[in-house]
């Protein structure tokens, strides 16, 4: 019996489906010192944890947007501190090519603008997938802040996210650090209450994010992948 016939079967070379993730990080002045150092360590942990999952590292695409003084898209492919234009072709990189940027903190907290620009980027990224015939998962927006928005348009941004969330266009997670205004964060999602980080456990937070994205990247049709338990914080219920 010619079993070697099965060994002759060649596989089609299809691109992997993608899961776009926008990391929105508060780099305002109040993050100076230990918080920003811990946040940087967390980003590095995130990068190495996801890189160890081969399929996830080819499927998850990361973009890093910071809001401290101004809203910036970072160069996550080169790992340099230069700004990238807000162009979905350039701001996302699959995890296998992700270089964690080294963040520094200063300025106020234009979070509303950051959210709005990130949402545009995520939607543009989806368009790029469609144009290229790539399958994709629902985009993630992950916001970490230790304060409250200083820009005036944040309520509009929150409403936009809620609307996008209700039509299953995005999965929004808000994480509050130390003195963050949890009530403001809660305004961004009807589905997921914001989480309060335990101390400065950024590294645990990013390990969790990495595991969660692994789960999503391996999820099959019909799965609302159950995410690993949150060990790094707690659900803020004081405003619900």
């Amino acid at each position: 019996m010619p079993s070697n016939l099965l060994d002759q079967a060649e596989f089609a070379d299809n691109p992997e489906p993608r899961c776009p993730v926008a990391l929105l990080l508060d780099t305002s002045g109040s993050m100076v010192g230990t918080p920003i150092e811990e946040l940087n360590a967390g980003l590095r942990a995130f990068s190495s944890a996801l890189k160890s999952d081969r399929l996830a590292s080819l499927r998850v695409e990361v973009s890093v947007i910071t809001f401290g003084g101004s809203v910036r898209a970072l160069d996550v492919q080169g790992g340099s501190t230069k700004d990238m234009p807000f162009d979905a072709h350039q701001t996302f990189v699959t995890v296998d090519n992700f270089q964690p940027p080294n963040l520094s903190a200063s300025g106020n907290t234009p979070m509303g603008e950051a959210v709005q620009r990130a949402l545009v980027l995520l939607n543009e990224r989806k368009e790029i997938y469609k144009q290229n015939g790539l399958d994709y998962f629902r985009p993630w927006m992950f916001v970490i802040t230790d304060g409250r928005p200083t820009d005036t348009g944040w309520e509009a941004a929150a409403a936009q996210i809620k609307q996008e969330e209700s039509r299953k266009g995005v999965i929004f997670y808000g994480v509050g650090v130390e003195n963050a205004d949890m009530q403001v964060l809660a305004a961004f999602s009807d589905l997921r209450p914001p989480l309060k980080l335990r101390g400065l456990a950024f590294e645990e937070l990013f390990q969790w994010l990495s595991k969660s994205l692994s789960v999503v990247a391996h999820s099959r049709p019909g799965e609302q992948a159950p995410l690993p338990p949150v060990g790094w914080g707690q659900v803020d219920t004081s405003h619900s």
Partner: protein
């Protein structure tokens, strides 16, 4: 006149399911009927539905039971008849899943799975599908084509299930009134390896050796083991972490069977 089909099928646990301690949620079954027809049913249980492997198994068994019973009496004579038969098989399969859900006092969606059915007759081919996975055939001129494409929503991890309320609207049916040389039914775990995305054209270097393998089967048990070994092979697992099931049907390559 009877045609002689070789049929082999296997389902294998995916590496991600192994890691998470999940069972294999794919199910497949085949039958060769006395009238010379071959039947195939294949289902892929939903990852999050807690009893989806039971749903998949029930769907497959009930669909084949229905097709077998009907075809033993009488075979459809036209396209409309074949279409009606496929619809009936899916309705019976759904009914079967509904029944075990009721017996267990569980919601229907706990048993969510996809379903593909195929009837391969000498000069007819009838297939139906709800959900993902795919059906690929090769005709007598060795032309390959994808009969039914995976159904999915906007996102890669969304598809349709037999247990959905509007299942009969979701059912895609295709009837071809010409003889086929070989047919393959596969679950979602294999489609990225076997089809060219996004147009879902068959990747011929994948199917050609598989169809040759099926046509040349001599020992049925050994063929199943070989197919399982292929589905479990390292090179295949490097490309997919999902459960994978595959059924191959081919005209036997004996001297009398090729028309």
């Amino acid at each position: 006149m009877k045609s002689s089909w070789q049929v082999v099928g296997a389902e294998v646990l995916g590496t991600s399911h192994q890691k998470m301690g999940l069972p294999c949620q794919d199910a497949q079954a085949t039958r060769l009927l006395a009238n010379g027809m071959a039947l195939v049913a294949l289902a892929d249980g939903a990852g999050t539905a807690e009893r989806s492997q039971e749903g998949a198994r029930q769907a497959v068994d009930r669909a084949l039971l229905c097709l077998d019973a009907t075809l033993a009496r009488d075979a459809p004579q036209d396209e409309v008849g074949w279409e009606a038969l496929i619809h009936e098989a899916f309705q019976q399969a759904r009914q079967g899943v509904l029944q075990i859900a009721e017996e267990n006092g569980s919601p229907l969606k706990a048993f969510a799975s996809t379903l593909i059915c195929a009837i391969v007759a000498d000069c007819w081919l009838a297939v139906g599908q709800i959900g993902d996975g795919a059906v690929v055939a090769m005709d007598m001129q060795a032309e390959y084509f994808t009969l039914l494409e995976p159904q999915h929503g906007e996102y890669a991890n969304e598809t349709n299930f037999l247990t959905m309320e509007n299942a009969s609207d979701l059912l895609a049916v295709r009837v071809v009134a010409q003889p086929m040389q070989a047919l393959s039914v596969m679950s979602d775990g294999l489609t990225r390896l076997a089809l060219k995305i996004p147009n879902y054209e068959p990747h011929i270097p994948f199917f050609k050796p598989l169809f040759e393998f099926a046509a040349g089967i001599e020992d049925q048990d050994q063929a199943v083991r070989q197919l399982e070994a292929f589905l479990n092979s390292e090179r295949l697992n490097a490309r997919t972490d999902d459960d994978k099931s595959l059924v191959l049907v081919a005209r036997a390559s004996g001297p009398d069977s090729i028309p």
